[in-house]
C-alpha cells in the first residue's frame, strides 16, 4: 500500500474517531437500564471486533507462511498478533470498567469475558514465543504453528465456555450481553465507531507490516553488504 493511501487512512480514522467520541459523549441517548456506563459499549465492541479480526489474520498468515514459505507472511502474522493483543487487552480493560458499575464486580466468569481472556492468554503466549527466540525461519515456523493451533481452538473454547456457564448459572449476571439498542442513534454511533476502529486497524496493521517488511529487507541488505565486504577482503 502506498504511503499516501496509508496517510489518508490515518487521517480518516482520526476524524471518524472524533466524530464517534462526540456521538458517544454528547449525542446518543442514555440507555434506560444500564445508565451512562453503557456508553462504554460503543468502543468496547469495535475493540473486540478488531482483536478477533487480527487473530484471524494471524492464523491465515500462519497457514500461508507454512504453505508458501515466504517471509512476508511471517511479518504479517507478527504485526497482526501484536495489534490483536493490544485490542484484546482493551476489550478486557473496558469490559472490566463496564462490569463494575453494572454488575458490581470487576470481573465475572461470564462466557464472553472468559473466552476473551483465554484468547488473551493464548496470544500472549504466542508473542512470548516470538520474543523468546531470535529472528529466524525456525521461529517463524513455530509462530505459524502456534497461531494456527490457537485459531483452531477458538470454536471449541466458545462452545465449552458457553456450556460451562449455562450449566452453572452465575448469580451475578442479570441481563447479560443483550444490548437492546432501542434508539436508532445508538446504532449509528456503534456503526461510526466500528468504521473508525476498522480503518484505524487497517492503518496500524499496514504500518506495522510495512515496518517489519522494511526490517526484513534491511537485514537482507545487511547480509549482502557483509558478503560484498568479504569479497572485497578476499583481494
Amino acid at each position: 500500500m502506498s504511503s499516501m493511501v496509508r496517510k489518508g487512512l490515518g487521517y480518516l480514522s482520526l476524524a471518524l474517531m472524533f466524530v464517534a467520541i462526540f456521538m458517544v459523549f454528547d449525542w446518543v441517548p442514555t440507555e434506560a437500564e444500564q445508565g451512562i456506563a453503557q456508553r462504554i459499549f460503543y468502543f468496547h465492541v469495535p475493540c473486540a471486533w478488531v482483536a478477533f479480526a487480527a487473530f484471524g489474520i494471524v492464523a491465515l498468515a500462519g497457514i500461508l507462511y507454512l504453505w508458501l514459505g515466504e517471509r512476508m507472511w511471517d511479518d504479517l502474522g507478527y504485526a497482526a498478533a501484536e495489534i490483536g493483543m493490544v485490542f484484546c487487552t482493551l476489550v478486557l480493560l473496558t469490559g472490566s470498567l463496564w462490569a463494575k458499575p453494572i454488575w458490581g464486580v470487576w470481573w465475572t466468569w461470564d462466557s464472553r469475558l472468559t473466552t476473551t481472556f483465554i484468547l488473551w492468554l493464548m496470544y500472549g503466549g504466542y508473542l512470548l514465543l516470538r520474543s523468546s527466540a531470535d529472528d529466524s525461519p525456525q521461529v517463524a515456523r513455530f509462530a505459524a504453528v502456534v497461531g494456527i493451533v490457537a485459531a483452531l481452538d477458538v470454536p471449541v473454547v466458545i462452545v465449552s465456555v458457553r456450556l460451562w456457564r449455562t450449566i452453572h448459572p452465575a448469580v451475578l449476571i442479570t441481563k447479560t450481553g443483550e444490548h437492546g439498542l432501542e434508539d436508532p442513534r445508538m446504532v449509528v454511533a456503534l456503526l461510526v465507531s466500528l468504521a473508525a476502529f476498522t480503518i484505524f486497524f487497517v492503518w496500524l496493521l499496514t504500518l506495522r507490516f510495512a515496518q517489519l517488511r522494511a526490517r526484513t529487507r534491511l537485514h537482507r541488505m545487511g547480509q549482502e553488504i557483509a558478503l560484498a565486504e568479504m569479497r572485497a577482503g578476499d583481494r
Binding site: 492468554l121 503466549g125 512470548l128 525456525q138 513455530f142 504453528v145 502456534v146 483452531l152 473454547v157 465449552s160
Partner: protein
Amino acid sequence: MAAFAAILRKDLRLELRSGESTVALLAISLLILVVMVFALDASRARGAESAAGALWVALVFSGMLGATRALLAERDNNCIRGLLLSPIEPSTLYAAKLAAAFIFMAIAEIGSVILMVLFFNLNFDITLIRLAPILALGTLGFAALATLLAAISNRTRMGDLLLPILAVPIFVPALIAGVKASASALGGTPESAIAEWLKILIAFDVLFVTAGYLLFEYVVRED
C-alpha cells in the same frame, strides 16, 4: 507403521530401563493431589467436585512432564537428528511420541485416581469406571497438544518454561469439559449429562491430533 512401532517400543524399553519418567510423573501427581487436599480442605469441600478438579490439575502437570520426557529421550547424542535423517516421516515420529506420552500419562493417572479416592474419601466402586473414557480422552488431547508444543518450547531460549504458557490456555476447553464430566461421573449424575462434555473432548482430540500430525513436520525440522 513398522517405524511407529519401532520408535514406541524403543521409548517404552528406555522407560522400563530407567523408570525416570513414570516415577517423576507419579511423584508430581502425588504432590499435586497433596497440595490440592490442603488447598481445598478435603474434609469439608464438596467431595466429587474437588476431587475431579485435583485430578485434572494433576493431569495437566504430569502431561507437560510426560510430553517433555518423551521428546527428551531423543536429546542425548542428538538422537533426534538421527531420526530426522532416517527415512521415517515426521508425522510417524509425532504419532509415536504422542503414544509414548499418552502411556506415561495414563500410568500416572491410574496412580492419581487411586490417591484421589483415598485422599478425598471416595469409594472404590463402579463410578470409577465412568471416569475412564473421560480421562482417556483428556489425556489423549493433552498429549497431542503438549507433544506438538514441547517440540517448540524445547528449542527456544525460555525452554520448558514456555510449554505451560503455550499449552494451558489452549487446553482450557478440554479442561472445563473434563473437570465437569469427571465431577458428574463421580457424583453419580446420569450419562446424558456427561454426553455434551464428552462431545467437546472428542472434538478437541480430533482437532489437535490431526493438527499435530500435520504440523509436527514444521516444528521438528532443523533450521
